[in-house]
Symmetry: C2
Subunit: 559 residues, 2 copies
């Protein structure tokens, strides 16, 4: 079995050669977007003998919105291969959790263990216990399996998707490729406007990472945007449509109960989750319980036939510091814990979504409470932002909270881009968001003491100390930007190997002086060690004697 | 007494008018850079009757480097007013710490208390105890007093300064203005190249905030860049030169002792502080103790005559995660604690510098250890960066560590710009660095529960919830960027008051739905409260009865 990695070859150090550094890689094999990726997992899925093909739902132009009905199709139809959908044979369950609980090690688990550099039994046992998920819809064979759980590397999700106001199908596919190139571990397609079905088809066929969605957005489109007109039937139809396309996990706001909604009335920012507010509006408009909660078992039965994972939505997450950790938020979390256990009865994989906007000192409570209540089900949080005063910089305000929450056990972080609260992210924003979150995830891995997490830091720092600029760039999260910044002040090619940089200039470089010190007194070999220890003894003696000698006849060559 | 503030007037809410929000302001009164700022504090200083004017050091063209000697002056001479320097009369001490310990409340303390919105006795007692400093050289009367201490708002320092490779005097003055405009509380001039004296003169005469320096950089210039040629005499002369100009605090690497240096030999990145490596190189080259340590009492005597504060440099701070919290770093900290107490014997104000590069889980130990060892002297840290793998994004890697370290008591954060490790910051980098650090400082204030810290968050969140876009921009750390991002997708003027934004589009806005819910069931007035409680009772009863009713005849208007 082969897994994707990026291998970085390094130049030699003065002390000898450096081992190449192997980095986790999410970018996939690459392909022409109009034909899609090869179905890596097709044989694994078929090989288990527990799925069947079936005709699937009929094409319905309404799936792409009213504009598609008018023009007789999406604005750009998917022209690549169309496979008949798969589902579990009647009475079978095809989830990784089911297999894991049966003691079966799947190729997906082996793939994941190789990527993570861990024992496959850790993967199987964590999935079996519900503490990790491998989101792999049988209808998304293009994806390279990955795992979300606190025992593994912290993961990053990037949101893309068009809206009623802006953007095209091709742009969204380009954002997908861009996000995975910079390290997004999963991507959520949050499209809400026209072409919603076809955009998703393009994305799934081209995605090497799991794709998540929020099906209520499309269900709402189907009822003309009137949330009071939503029904379980429309929602169920939408979920099946997306299961057949291959969506790997879906955000389901089943925890927004009728009795929770009044708890939000005195909040500074009410309900800020789109899904949450749609459901809350529906509940109150109908004076009825949330139909997602009422039909949760039916959802479990559907998800079990495709291996779709729940991402239990936190529809009542706080939208401002003032609303953090309040009664509404924690009441919903109690319900999400109940739903987690219910899904596990069906062997359906579950993660639980978390906030949002939370003051820094209250962040930790969120993950510890979720982990306790939900028996260790993976936590998947949006930031959280630790202040509300920096629109335009919320990738930063949220990366601070994200590092803290991941340190204490959050398994996946949903990125926030600089455009949060202000507009739709463009290509640059997607990149900035992903890299910012790779920083948070990695810093948390290091803080958790995850095995090998610090190797990349150490390799880069060593390269920095030795002025191996090329290696320093190559080991960076964003080599192009690092190199461009360096070149702004020192563009010449020789400066790439120069033993100084523009901060201090050639005369003044602390790294160089430091290297001189090491050359003179430090470093490995026995001779140097003796010299150094002798030095230390001498200096200690010097201090003990209280000597105050200094240069008796200072030479000031420059003046 | 009047103190500078920014007052933000807000539009009315549906529920009534909003009080204006008052923000701390660092930008100063503004002026023509060629004439400088008015000497706000001149009368206060003179009024105490404990200073004298004197001719000061002679102009020496070498102060500006060899190029100035060649051309007969700096590249652009300071043409504004030149005052004779002040110093304490013989036998007097003119530090704010001295006054505070005598029980004297100075105008500087009153000014600070007004800015902080706290009792002046808190200011006096914290300064007297050494837990806070007010850096105010008697020769920098242009500055608006501010305080650095854990009982007050967390402060942010911005570094500027030319280097041997690049930049001009005017550019540095423009960076100063730019940095304080975005909220820098102090600015350090780290110039190392030509025009070093004159650049500092321009900066001081135009700075409304305290200016810090690292005098060894200039001392090294004076000896032609050869650190082995440094002497106490050259260093002392440089310190006096800078005291006379008005530098408010100076980084002094007196904690780099000869016996500490060998502790760095096995580090991944050795000594990364420029000052630290210069001193370490000198110590080893001469086999002598650090002359700054040896002459520390003399420095205290000098500083006491001008009220210059020590910023005790952490010359052995870690330059990589691998070197964090190691023997070298903590050995130096022990020495800095000893020096803190020695300075206090002279009533000289002190803060202590801290790292650097530190894994997230080891950050807290740094500040707690420093606070304990140094009896609460203000801690002033550079980040720390919580990972080494993101050159080009180190404003972010370090803001994460900065928030954590400030939460536990660091009083001032030295910013890091995106160019860290790669090049000299330009104007945009300075802005990005300052704003990123305002985020960290503010998030820490909120986390510490600093009185009133969250008011700005709450006001902005309320504006956001009510679609008062103009107010949201005005309350932001960077109004122009917030507005520009908003306008990218919704540029029309009416969109500034539109009850939706481009993320969701008009049909789909969770804020709007949420407002509808509040209008129907929530919010202030008694009537609504009754309605809501009734609603809650009804929904609870509904759940208790286990009702599963949902829409019997769904209407799907769109299809």
């Amino acid at each position: 079995m082969r897994v994707p990695v990026t291998r970085v070859s390094l130049d030699d150090s003065p002390s000898g050669p450096n081992e190449p550094v192997t980095l986790y890689r999410t970018a996939g094999p690459g392909s022409d977007p109009t034909t899609g990726l090869p179905p890596l997992r097709a044989e694994w899925i078929a090989g288990r003998g527990d799925v069947e093909t079936y005709p699937g739902r009929d094409r319905d132009l309404y799936d792409d919105g009213r504009a598609a009905v008018r023009r007789g199709g999406a604005s750009e139809e998917w022209a690549g291969a169309r496979r008949e959908p798969l589902r579990a044979r009647e009475g079978r369950t095809v989830t990784q959790m089911y297999y894991a609980r049966q003691g079966v090690v799947t190729p997906e688990m082996r793939f994941v263990a190789l990527r993570e550099g861990c024992d496959v039994e850790l993967v199987r046992s964590e999935v079996a216990a519900g503490r990790a998920i491998i989101p792999v819809n049988v209808n998304h064979p293009e994806s390279e399996p990955m795992i979300i759980g606190r025992a593994f590397h912290v993961k990053v999700n990037a949101n893309i998707g068009n809206s009623a106001v802006t953007s095209s199908i091709r742009e969204e596919v380009a954002k997908l490729e861009w996000a995975t190139r910079w390290g997004a571990d999963t991507v959520m397609d949050l499209s809400t406007g026209d072409d919603i079905h076809t955009t998703r088809e393009w994305i799934l066929r081209n995605s090497p990472v799991p794709i998540g969605t929020v099906p209520i957005y499309q269900a709402l489109e189907k009822v003309g945007g009137d949330h009071q007109a939503l029904t379980w039937e429309v929602f169920r139809d939408t979920v099946v449509e997306q299961c057949e396309q291959g969506v790997d996990y879906m955000t389901i706001h089943a925890g927004v109960l009728l009795r929770h909604v009044p708890l939000t009335a005195d909040r500074v920012t009410g309900i800020v989750s789109r899904g949450g507010s749609i459901i809350a509006g529906w509940c109150l408009g109908h004076h009825r319980e949330n139909f997602l909660y009422e039909h949760f078992d039916e959802l479990c039965e559907i998800f079990a036939r495709y291996d779709v994972a729940f991402s239990l939505g936190d529809g009542l997450r706080p939208g401002s510091l003032a609303d953090a950790n309040d009664a509404a938020q924690f009441a919903e979390l109690d319900t999400l814990a109940e739903l987690t256990r219910r899904a596990w009865e069906y062997d359906v994989q579950v993660m639980v979504e978390g906030p949002g906007h939370v003051p820094f000192h209250l962040v930790r409570e969120n993950v510890e409470r979720q982990q306790e209540l939900c028996d260790g089900a993976p936590f998947y949080t949006l930031g959280p932002l630790v202040t509300d005063i920096a629109p335009g910089y919320d990738h930063i305000t949220s990366a601070i909270g994200a590092t803290e929450i991941a340190r204490y056990g959050t398994a996946m972080l949903c990125y926030v881009t600089p455009k949060e609260h202000l507009g739709l992210p463009d290509r640059d924003d997607v990149k900035t968001g992903v890299i910012t979150y790779k920083i948070a995830a990695h810093a948390a891995d290091v803080a958790k003491g995850h095995p090998g997490a610090r190797d990349r830091d150490d390799a880069l720092s060593k390269a920095r100390f030795e002025f191996r600029w090329r290696d320093q760039f190559a080991l960076s999260l964003d080599p192009a930007t690092a190199e461009a910044f360096h070149d702004e002040t020192l563009p010449a090619e020789p400066a790439k190997t120069a033993h100084f940089c523009s901060m201090c200039g050639p005369k003044f470089c602390s790294m160089r002086i430091s290297q001189d010190i090491r050359d003179a007194y430090g470093d490995a070999g026995e001779q140097e060690r003796i010299a150094r220890d002798g030095m230390a003894a001498k200096s200690e003696e010097f201090v003990r004697l209280g000597g105050t000698v200094y240069l008796p006849d200072p030479t000031v060559p420059a003046r």
